[in-house]
Amino acid sequence: MTAETQLPPPPLPVETRPPAPPRRRRRRRAGQTLWNLLGLALLVLMAFPVYWMISTAFKPDDDINGFTPTWLPTHPTLDHFREAMSRPFFWDGIKNSVIIVSVTVLVSMVLAFFAAVALAKFRFTGLKLFIVLMIGIQMLPQAGLIIPLYVVLARYGQVNTLTGVTITYMTFVLPFTVWTLRGFLLGIPRELEEAAMVDGSTRVGAFVRILLPLVAPGLVATSIFAFITSWNEYIFARVLLNDQGKQTATVWLSYFYGTSKHTDWGALMAGSTLIAIPVVIFFLIVQRRIAFGLTAGAVRG
């Protein structure tokens, strides 16, 4: 490798950067404090409804319906959580959702990654048609597909099965994921790609291995989207699943507000808080992969 084509040594990750000259560091610190404050203010504003949901789950009924809003739950109670968890099929709902969503996300990410590579890195007949198909499918209002989809799955014998729901979710997640991952792949600066290619690898496997870390942030973002969309999906799960033991968490939640009598708001909020927990866990696990310094590390390796 000649000197000209070798990249300058990649910077160390942010945390261990050699200290900048003092004046710049002080200015940067002050600037960051301002940004931090802005960030926290934004957090309060955006997450206020979430806070309201969670705090309502802890409030006794009187506070929930009170005339003046109760900002802080001063008499927190766990009754609503107990009530929610005692409703039939709670753990079944969580279990089914976890199964369906994990399989959907895993399989979709793999298939979509390969397809996106084909779309971003190759030229072949039918390329444009396929891309248009990926975005075109998303333009169709889903409402019209419920009944025909039910008919198709009934013919395959997949009504009232977790597999049927998983396949359905995959077909909705795939076009979006392919479309978005293609964008991430297109966005990789060519310098990084070419520098990586300099290693001389020609096999598809190595090619993919090089692209994978470069597009990791994109994979993470789309996997979070796939996870949340599938986790919160309601109408298809409702229509396709009959047995209460097979229903997903969102369908379980719908029974809280589906009666002809009054809705137990505390229990509903508690239930919603509970089923949001797996989403947060998933996010915390994968979010570490979106970080600066990642692309540099991959190139170096």
């Binding site: 072949f124 007949t125 009934a154 013919r155 409702r238 009959n242 719908s254 009666t259």
Partner: protein
């Protein structure tokens, strides 16, 4: 072969391969029926939460009569149960027994969704005495397509302590109630306080006034529906509603009866009474001890203002292949013993000879029901009546004009 052409062929093949060339009709039953001798029953979630024992005992009795059969009961919730039902009608196998709201029945009966039960009417308990509002919802073109299940009416829930403080008694006529409202207001002038909380767009209450004065929403004559809200009697009822509302309710004139829930307003101490289903007593907060109910009085002494009879029916989809079994199950589930159980849970049983003395049931003595037209649901979804009421109350239109506009819309929609 040129790989590119191969690829294109493959692409097209993949697309067309998946599209079946046959038409959509499926004559045979799909694989959704779990086992040969299973009776599939779809009930609403209310049954699971409020009377699961009744369901269990019905199943036991059924399985006793049909050894080797099992009952698979599945529960749906009100907001989207019809979407699911539509899907099974289109492509899978529908259930053998389906619970339908009484206002939902007509559209499906007109479309031929259900089995004709006219020949079996006698075999259902108390069928000669079925409640008017429910029986009307199970009949179409003179044929019976469903069995009444249970009902609920509307009553007044009130604060005995506030009534005592204002030195008023339970009113026996509408005029008395108006007086009571005035005295209650004199006791508490707060801006947010309503002597009688009625939401402006609460058409269940509003139409009660119309029917009380002898008016109707629509009349079926000569093979066609005609909106009847601009008849003199209906207009009298609407005027009475407007007068009563102005005195008694401080609720928003443009909001509906679930935003906010009347019992929430009541529980906050901002209503001395409210008109609604009998189960409102569930959620009155700290006023539980001081809460009682009475029937909404008519403008005529000694009579009850007609209340909207909401309820459920049970029907057997026409495609069911277990019709005799389904009929038996329904027979057990709605027999006198079962209806008494439902009654004990605070519901109105399905027959007049079973009616007891509870406020809920006394209120059902005079009831009204929506026109049994197959397009009635469209009128509800278009909010014709709600808009009419809020226009009248806000003064946006005179009573005459608003009623005429609504009648015209109703005539148009029901006759489509």
């Amino acid at each position: 072969m040129n790989p590119r052409i191969l690829g294109v062929v493959g692409l097209i093949a993949a697309l067309t391969f998946a599209i079946p060339t046959a038409t959509a009709t499926t004559g045979s039953k799909s694989a959704t029926r779990a086992a040969a001798n299973t009776l599939t029953v779809w009930l609403q979630i209310d049954a699971q939460s409020s009377w699961p024992d009744l369901v269990a005992s019905t199943n036991r009795e059924f399985e006793r009569r049909y050894p080797g059969w099992t009952v698979d009961v599945q529960y749906a919730s009100w907001p989207d149960h019809l979407q699911k039902f539509d899907a099974t009608l289109a492509g899978g196998s529908p259930p053998d027994v389906k619970e339908m709201g009484n206002t939902e029945m007509t559209k499906y009966m007109a479309a031929g969704a259900f089995t004709n039960l006219s020949a079996d009417k006698k075999t259902f308990a108390n069928s000669k005495n079925w409640l008017g509002g429910l029986a009307a919802s199970t009949t179409y073109n003179g044929k019976l397509y469903g069995v009444p299940y249970y009902a609920g009416s509307r009553v007044v829930t009130y604060r005995t302590d506030l009534f005592t403080r204002a030195k008023v008694k339970v009113p026996k006529t509408l005029a008395q109630y108006t007086q009571v409202a005035r005295k209650l207001r004199a006791q508490n002038g707060k801006r947010s306080f309503s002597p009688v909380y009625i939401a402006g767009k609460d058409w269940y209450v509003g139409m009660g006034f119309v029917y009380d004065y002898g008016g109707r929403i629509a009349i079926f004559k000569g093979g066609k529906w005609a909106g009847a809200l601009n008849s003199p009697r209906a207009i009298a009822g609407l005027n009475a509603f407007k007068r009563f509302f102005t005195v008694a309710s401080r609720a928003s004139k443009t909001t509906i009866e679930t935003r906010p829930n009347p019992y929430d307003v009541y529980a906050q101490g901002n209503a001395a009474s409210m008109i609604g289903p009998a189960w409102f007593t569930c959620c009155v907060g700290k006023f539980k001890a001081e809460t009682k109910q009475f029937v909404m009085p008519s403008h005529t002494r000694g009579k009850v203002m007609p209340g909207f009879l909401g309820g459920s029916d049970l029907a057997i989809p026409a495609r069911s292949d277990a019709k005799p079994q389904a009929k038996t199950w329904i027979r057990i589930f709605t027999n006198t013993q079962s209806e008494k159980t439902l009654q004990a849970k605070g519901n109105i049983p399905n027959a007049t000879n079973l009616l007891g003395k509870s406020i809920n049931e006394r209120a059902a003595a005079r009831s009204w029901f929506v026109p049994t037209a197959k397009n009635w649901v469209n009128v509800e979804n278009a909010n014709v009546l709600r808009t009419m009421l809020s226009d009248i109350l806000t003064g946006k239109a005179s009573v005459q004009k608003a009623a005429t506009t609504a009648s015209k819309s109703i005539t148009r929609m029901l006759n489509r």
